[in-house]
């Protein structure tokens, strides 16, 4: 992480007394598979072993779910000739969690070429997961050739427009947004006026203490616009969420974990289950990154998210597939 990114993590707008050093330390732990939970303004960290202790003490009314992303079913090039195996490994990882997740969020690029067989394979493999409910948002690879018609046929039930939707679970409000449709020349991801209008109304009457989780494929913050890693009109969306005490934004698309905190909003991107991509600017393009075979699974993974009632921030843990 560059120094600039470290600085961005440290704006303490919410005045919860977390000092710079403590927060930075926790972010570093998070990279090694530990996670941090904020309890009454005090950050505590739990290693992966300690996770089961955390789960034991977690009271009823708490919530845990998993994010997976960028399965690119159908991809078969050098960066990973067997995306089925790595997807299965991701499911195994989910099934090994001490607490079965309530559901899975898939943040898009389910398929690689929007082919029916690719979607079918993912659906089949997901049947082996401990969590039976899966919520999707499309990636740009899922809406090829037919303006997303097939995606909606498969995953559009209960959604509006290009597939946006919201639902509640244990007092947490989840919003799935679609930012891969109607992309314009030279532009980034796009939410569009109709969806923004829907979002504004969707959260308007929620109390500001309602924890919000937004999930969408392309990052809703400007990770690296030169490579298209951002959303042109996400500012409008975030303005509707600014008043809430806890907002977590979960994205995919960039095939690596990245995190940023801005006031009460925590942004987090997940790794892919298919192939890694280079860090911003570190390579000729944001395409699939070939690594030695024995390193591949350390760069792929799943993200486990835990919400404990009355706690400020959700605990986000990335696990690789090793």
């Amino acid at each position: 992480m560059s120094d600039k990114k470290n600085d961005e993590l440290l704006h303490d707008h919410n005045h919860d007394g977390i000092d710079r050093r403590g927060f930075l330390k926790c972010m570093a732990w998070a990279g090694t598979g530990a996670f941090c939970v904020m309890k009454g303004g005090v950050l505590s960290s739990y290693g992966l072993g300690g996770f089961s202790d955390f789960a034991k003490h977690a009271a009823k009314g708490d919530l845990s779910f998993v994010q997976i992303s960028d399965s690119h079913m159908g991809f078969d090039k050098a960066a990973n000739p067997d995306v089925v195996s790595t997807f299965k490994a991701a499911i195994d990882k989910i099934n090994a969690l001490p607490t079965p997740p309530a559901f899975i969020l898939h943040t898009g690029d389910i398929s690689h070429l929007s082919k029916p067989a690719e979607f079918d394979t993912v659906d089949q493999l997901l049947k082996g997961a401990s969590a039976k409910d899966v919520f999707f948002v499309p990636g740009e690879h899922d809406v090829l050739n037919d303006d997303g018609k097939q995606y909606l046929e498969r995953y559009g039930k209960g959604t509006q427009g290009a597939g946006w939707h919201s639902f509640d679970n244990k007092g947490v409000h989840f919003v799935g947004l679609v930012n891969v449709m109607n992309l314009k020349a030279g532009g980034l991801g796009s939410l569009g006026a109709e969806q923004l209008d829907w979002l504004e109304k969707d959260v308007k009457h929620l109390s500001k203490s309602t924890p919000i989780v937004v999930f969408a494929h392309i990052p809703l913050w400007s990770v690296y616009p030169e490579w298209g890693w951002g959303t042109d009109d996400s500012g409008h969306a975030l303005s509707y969420l600014k008043r809430f005490g806890s907002v977590t934004v979960l994205n995919g698309h960039i095939h690596q974990t990245m995190q940023k905190v801005e006031g009460n909003i925590t942004f987090h991107t997940a790794t892919s289950t298919a192939f890694p991509q280079p860090k911003p600017g570190q390579g000729p393009s944001p395409g699939p990154m070939k690594v030695p075979a024995d390193q591949l699974r350390s760069l792929l993974g799943v993200t486990d998210v835990n919400y404990v009632q009355h706690h400020h921030a959700l605990a986000i843990t990335d696990s690789d597939l090793v």
């Binding site: 960066a79 690689h112 090829l144 020349a185 030169e226 000729p284 395409g287």
Partner: protein, 117 residues
């Protein structure tokens, strides 16, 4: 004094050499010379040549050399390819003069143009 000037000159050469953008991706106007021919290669998330000039009636062929699919979408909705996987191709015959801007529908930062004269 001469040595210092030489060192300064070398430093300037090295600095300007290193200042080139390491990422080739999405390069919209890589060079200002009007490129001709009939083939556009997609490589490292860019169209090459970024600007291609052809006579009226030319069939232009795009080929994808990336490990990732791309699409060719005309700015003015005049032509649109389906998703091209690695080594797949798309052709379009330009029957009218004009400047045809286009981009990749999956990665819209990739932009280029065909000039038909």
């Amino acid at each position: 004094m001469k040595n210092r000037l030489w060192v300064l000159a070398m430093a300037l050469v090295l600095i300007t050499a290193g200042a080139r953008n390491p990422s080739k991706a999405f390069a919209a106007s890589a060079n200002t010379q009007a490129a001709t021919g009939t083939v556009v290669k997609i490589d490292n998330f860019s169209f090459s040549p970024a600007e291609l000039t052809v006579p009226v009636g030319t069939t232009v062929r795009w080929t994808n050399a990336d490990d990732i699919p791309h699409t060719i979408v005309s700015d003015d909705k005049i032509f649109k390819s389906k998703a091209l996987d690695t080594d797949e191709q798309f052709t379009y015959t330009f029957t009218k003069p004009g400047t045809y801007g286009y981009f990749c529908g999956l990665h819209p930062k990739m932009t280029a143009k065909i000039v038909v004269q």
